[in-house]
């Protein structure tokens, strides 16, 4: 059964430019199983750790936040194309293409990563 997920992004800046940046965007997503509930894992430097299996078909909405205070983590497809580097405290939210999968690897030292994903219905 499909359920509803509502992600909202807000960007705000009143100090950098003459004009204030203040905008918000939201979406209503229909999602279904399989999903990964909010999870915290330790990502090490030893190897790539697969968080989204590329063998599971479907588009996935992926959320992650790096809880480490000083080290970044690399997110990439299972074919090693980097999605992003998450610096300390940073987060991301984006759709993962069918078959891409996602794996994580800490660069300098182990970090604690919070993540979740949901399959597009």
């Amino acid at each position: 059964m499909a359920t509803t997920l509502t992600p909202t992004l807000t960007l705000n800046d009143s100090t950098t430019f003459s004009s204030t940046i203040n905008f918000s965007v939201t979406d209503t997503l229909s999602v279904e199983a399989p999903a990964q509930g909010l999870t915290k894992v330790t990502i090490t430097t030893a190897d790539n750790q697969e968080l989204v299996d590329d063998a599971v078909s479907g588009v996935f909405y992926f959320y992650a936040k790096n809880h480490d205070s000083s080290n970044f983590v690399i997110l990439q497809t299972t074919a090693s194309q980097q999605y992003a580097r998450l610096s300390p405290g940073e987060f991301c939210f984006f759709p993962i293409n069918d078959g891409n999968g996602l794996e994580a690897r800490a660069d300098t030292a182990s970090i604690e990563l919070e993540y979740a994903y949901w399959k597009k219905a």
């Binding site: 997920l5 509502t6 992004l9 705000n12 950098t16 999602v31 194309q81 939210f93 759709p95």
Partner: protein, 141 residues
Amino acid sequence: MATTTASLSISSSDLLPGSSLNINASSTLMKTGLTTGMELMEMGNAEIAKDYEGQLFADGPATDDGAYFIYICNNSTDDTYYIEYRLHETAIGRLYAGDWMFVPYNASDGDAEVEVKALTGINKIEYAMFKTAWTLPAAES
């Protein structure tokens, strides 16, 4: 000091039986390192028609391994319209009508350009990139 704050909330009232989901995350966008805010932003909107495939952000002037953030939203209202978001010809994800994404971007080498491709319809997108650094083109002599 430049202080650009990005906040994300993800909520659902019916995803978990008997319990609502409320995820909240917030961070200040920093240049490489943890102390200096970002002061460069590129933004705009565009209409991308079916079969168009091209660069949204070129990788050339970017600083390798610098901190960048990308926001893209597909503002189309026809739910059959969608675009692909790509990094150097690798499809990363699809943004259907109304969908958006926010992700740090690593210009890790000379092959990390951000591309978009429309698969159906004429997609109205808006986009922004927050940048650590940018190299101006050389002056014509």
